[in-house]
């Protein structure tokens, strides 16, 4: 069984992916042995106020038990507490996602401390989408870059009691971040090398690596291959493929 920690539903304006329902996503994932996915709304990246996309996400996954919603919150908006309230009222959630580069704020913002304290009080965990696409190939009208590793490091060091899931880091960025921080996990969405998992294992312990596909922007089959063909002990593979995600998301849920 595999668990995807970086899956999306909803539209992406720069590529003509066919519309996909919650059931459709679940079926696509199941075809690759992914039995559960933590899903965020892709459209939230381009909405100044992400709640319409979150509401669509909650509706899409309501009757699809294998898809767990991870709503996107923009903590730079004054109403972020109301948005957390609305999300928690809409569905049992264990984590929220930030998209700092798409929502035009820095992780060095001082007032993020309040946000972190609040999600901690609510028993919510935090995932950060560092990037959604290779910025060398983004749409020509976009100037959105990945979240700088320096900002992530400052954020993680400022909140040492939070363990954050950083989705979408490149392999080299994981290596740099790991030099100064140990309160994060990384996923496989954009981390790639000849033998990806073994290369990452030289930097991070297996318990801090999780599967993330980035679907629908990236190919599920190709992303899963990083795990399927990894040459590491079976126990570590199981942890990266599913166990670490269960611990990360479910531990928080119990704290609610």
């Amino acid at each position: 069984m595999l668990i995807d920690t970086h899956a999306f539903l909803g539209p992406w304006p720069f590529y003509p992916h066919p519309p996909r329902s919650g059931r459709g996503l679940a079926a696509q994932l199941a075809a690759h042995a992914v039995r559960r996915a933590y899903v965020s709304p892709l459209g939230a990246a381009f909405l100044p106020e992400p709640m319409p996309a979150n509401r669509e996400l909650f509706a899409a996954v309501r009757r699809v038990s294998v898809l767990i919603p991870v709503p996107v919150i923009n903590p730079a908006l004054a109403a972020w507490r109301h948005h957390l309230d609305a999300c928690q009222a809409a569905a049992p959630i264990s984590a929220v996602r930030l998209m700092p580069n798409y929502h035009n704020y820095s992780l060095r913002r001082r007032d993020l401390g309040e946000f972190m304290a609040e999600i901690s009080r609510r028993g919510l965990h935090l995932a950060v989408s560092v990037r959604l696409e290779d910025e060398r190939n983004r749409y020509f009208g976009l100037a959105v870059k990945g979240v700088p590793v320096g900002d992530l490091a400052a954020f993680l060091n400022h909140h040492p009691h939070h363990h954050v899931l950083c989705n979408g880091l490149y392999k080299g960025e994981i290596e740099r971040l790991a030099q100064t921080c140990d309160n994060f996990s990384a996923d496989l969405t954009f981390a790639e090398f000849l033998d990806t998992i073994r290369a990452l294992r030289a930097t991070l312990p297996a318990r801090r690596i999780m599967l993330g596909t980035g679907t629908p922007l990236l190919s599920i089959a190709a992303q899963i291959a990083k795990l399927r063909f990894a040459r590491i002990p079976a126990a570590e593979l199981a942890a990266i493929g599913a166990g670490n995600a269960v611990k990360f998301f479910e531990r928080q849920r119990k704290r609610v």
């Binding site: 090398f193 190709a222 291959a225 063909f229």
Partner: protein, 257 residues
């Protein structure tokens, strides 16, 4: 399913020249079903503007890799066109006659539409060699003075319709790059480089025809398993996957099929 990887760098960053390293790479490839690799050399070892001596050293390393596992690698001769016609021809002849290299690899020494490409393409024509040109969209990478955009590879192909050109890096070339070469039957595209963007392989097949798409990984910076499964998982027929993963490259490299 038989597989050729048409875009590999067995030597990269100076690593990969020992017999042990080469055998480990071949073992890794074989474990994934890759029965042949097109080896392109450690092309950025000395930066973007290698001297003639550095070019020779890079190609000699590639020859060494080829000799460690006879039959597993076909090798392209890395050239710096800005070094001029005599240097280009000297190195190419050395690699063809001494090491039986099978084509030419061009990186970022210059833009593919530059005049210095003329003797390179003349040599490719004379020896009947395919030319693999590194190509990436320069929309966000503003290095076009020396870094080739799909428009430039298309210009090169238009000027040399009788030379076979492989435009590297489907993901980096994007849909725009695919369309640039659509009407140029002498241009192939390889699927290497960049993350496995969903749907792009299918798009290339739809626009170019399946015969012009080659499987490539860009190892070691990219994972062979990922590049293979990107094709295997694509919304294509088994016959189309076979052409991309194996038959197109076998035909181009004149390998026994």
């Amino acid at each position: 399913m038989r597989i050729i990887d048409a875009h590999t760098h067995p030597v990269s960053g100076g690593k990969g020249t020992s017999r042990t390293e080469v055998e480990a790479l071949v073992s890794h490839g074989r474990s994934l079903g890759v029965e042949h690799m097109l080896s392109l050399g450690d092309v950025l070892r000395h930066g973007r503007f290698p001297t003639e001596a550095q070019i020779t050293a890079i190609n000699s390393d590639s020859a060494k890799v080829q000799q460690f596992c006879p039959g597993y690698f076909s090798t392209l001769c890395f050239l710096n066109p800005t070094l001029g016609e005599r240097a280009v021809n000297r190195e190419l002849e050395r690699c063809l006659t001494q090491h039986r290299f099978v084509g030419i690899k061009l990186e970022i020494c210059n833009n593919a539409s530059d005049a210095c490409m003329k003797p390179v393409m003349a040599a490719a024509r004379r020896w009947n060699l395919p030319v693999l040109q590194h190509t990436w969209s320069m929309t966000h990478i503003r290095q076009r003075s020396f870094h080739t955009d799909p428009i430039d590879t298309a210009t090169l192909a238009r000027r040399n319709p009788d030379v076979t050109i492989i435009m590297a890096h489907l993901t980096g070339c994007e849909t725009r790059g695919v369309l640039e070469i659509k009407d140029l039957p002498n241009v192939y595209i390889d699927t290497s480089g960049g993350p496995p963007v969903d749907g792009l392989v299918e798009y290339a097949v739809e626009q170019l025809g399946v015969e012009r798409v080659l499987h490539g990984s860009d190892l070691p910076g990219r994972a062979v398993a990922v590049s293979i499964e990107r094709i295997r998982g694509a919304r294509l027929t088994a016959a189309e996957k076979h052409l991309i993963l194996f038959a197109n490259a076998a035909r181009l490299l004149r390998l026994p099929s």
